[in-house]
Symmetry: C2
Subunit: 330 residues, 2 copies
């Protein structure tokens, strides 16, 4: 039995979460779901975007599903707080083409591993007399941890190469450390190829030669930018899942936001949230069940059952029901 | 008469510079060229990657053409030093599809204006007990200057909109200032549309909806990444020109590097360097002559006269001669 904390959030968060749970329910595993709150709606009700109770529920769960939240400027970001509080140091972003989904490259399959706790995300900024300064923190420990995660992931997933992405020609010390640690760790994985690129070159190669990538490992901000770029190659945010993984806890979330303008219309694309539950099952060491969801979803997309953002006419719940049906048949 | 300082640099720098000068020579204007040194070859000869004499020659020129340099790790970057010393605060990167050049979008035409002096490029890093910290400096003054440049450019170039790109949801103070200044400045340009996006979303939109962009203005590091990404949309670094513009001086350079592996073979693509000279002429208030070079180059490309990187069989000098001929006929 798996204890899953469920945070629907704001906007379309609830709808895509319902869709994902509809699908998950068809898998032959036992779950105990606990609902938790976060985001702007939560703030209006209880004065906090991320209550302690939610953090507690995420901490004691085997895994957490996170829909999407609206973050009003000035508010504390729920997801950044969760990543930091629970030390979810690895942000995993698979980049995988899906059948029938309009995209630039129909045959991509690589993974971006983004460091999730430091860099410009430490929230250490101050005003100065003429502007402001932010601190970009890179530690050896966090670099080593994320690089090791990337290599372990490559080995576990049968992938042949890991590419480090950095800007060590300008950030000689911070990214110098990242690159150095990368090759130190790489030397204990002789069976995996290791290379490195500058972040600007990578932004270009993702478009001109994306097939050469297998696993990319990079620092937090570069990972934020490159993973959205990479998502665009295979159909956009509507189909991009992600995992935030720590030593003890893990949160699975679509890369997209809460899209308030389409909320409540039953037209939001549930693909990214459904794929996020598949990532969760893989993380919970249930690869066959994860594969079932992936497979079921692909069958449905192949039939052209998709939401309007992908050019289809299906509703959110309609797509969920279709995927559920395929899961039950597999 | 225009005094032009010419810095060929390393690798293919000399070849593409020769090509550009061949073309420039066909334009009906008078130039006085002064050669200057920079880069790794210069370092081997005189112990410096960017001698004071070179900086002096750039300072007193009406404009400078810069080929490409090899920067060995540990060496001082010639181009970053020049940008900083001469306060070349605006890095202009046109993104424009060219006829016949294989690319994702055959009809793009927008410009990225990148702040060129601060952000993570201030070179303020230090080691700490557990890693290193870099300071990201954003000032009101530099933000205002670059935003104003972008709006003036939009007006001068007949462009309808300027988009600010930032990450103010995470960098609340530094990018908060950038966004705030952007809208302050925007209010004095009511005829130009102003909007703003997060950098990660922009990395996606450049692929999914690039036609909506007109002028993008952004901070230094984001500009570095996004402009390489954008270059990939229209054929890659081989065709991407750029300008570094200050109050008094300006340097024009291809975005590509010195590509030592193909140096000396007369196969380097001179397009980016030739387009950089066109940018220079525009900057020197010779838009008709700039247009001639652009037009001549496009005619040559349309005929399929291009270097191997673009799928052609022309040599560097062969392409230069062909463009020169067209200029003379225009
Ligand atoms: C919402 C935002 C703070 C977040 C980030 O920058 O990490 C998002 O872009 C993401 O990638 O999960
Ligand atoms: C060579 C490097 C330091 C430089 C930069 O990062 O600015 C280059 O990538 C560029 O865009 O001109």
């Amino acid at each position: 039995m798996y204890r899953i904390t469920v945070i629907p959030g704001d906007g379309i968060g609830g709808e895509v979460m319902d869709a994902a749970l509809t699908v998950l329910d068809a898998v032959d595993l036992e779950f105990e779901f606990t609902l938790a709150e976060a985001g702007d709606g939560c703030f209006r009700r209880c004065g906090e975007t991320i209550p302690d109770e939610t953090i507690r529920l995420v901490r004691k769960a085997d895994a957490t599903l996170f829909g999407a939240v609206t973050t009003v400027p000035g508010q504390k970001s729920a997801i950044i707080t969760l990543r930091r509080e629970l030390d979810l140091f690895a942000n995993l972003r698979p980049v995988r083409s899906l059948p029938g989904v309009p995209c630039l490259y129909p045959d991509l399959d690589f993974v971006i591993v983004r460091e999730n706790t430091e860099d410009l995300y430490v929230g250490d900024e101050e005003y100065t007399s003429d502007g402001a300064v932010a601190r970009r923190v890179i530690t050896r420990a966090a670099s080593e941890r994320i690089v090791r995660f990337a290599f372990d992931y490559a080995v576990g997933d049968g992938r042949g190469g890991v590419t480090a992405v950095h800007k060590a020609n300008v950030l000689k010390k911070t990214d110098g450390i990242f690159r150095e640690v990368f090759y130190e760790v790489a030397s204990s994985y002789p069976q995996v190829e290791a290379n490195d690129y500058y972040v600007d070159a990578t932004a270009m190669y993702l478009i001109t030669q994306p097939h050469e990538f297998d696993v990319i490992v990079t620092t937090n901000m570069f990972g934020d930018i490159l993973s959205d770029e990479a998502a665009a190659l295979v159909g956009g945010l509507g189909v991009a899942p992600s995992a935030n993984i720590g030593k003890k806890n893990a949160i699975f979330e679509p890369v997209h936001g809460s899209a308030p303008q389409i909320a409540g219309k039953n037209i939001a694309n549930p693909t990214a949230m459904i794929l996020s539950t598949a990532l969760m099952l893989k993380h919970l060491k249930k690869p066959q069940e994860a594969q079932k969801i992936q497979e079921a979803l692909e069958r449905v997309l192949k039939k052209g059952v998709m939401t309007p953002d992908l050019g289809g006419t299906a509703t959110t719940s309609g797509m969920a029901d279709a995927v559920r049906k395929e899961v039950l048949e597999l």
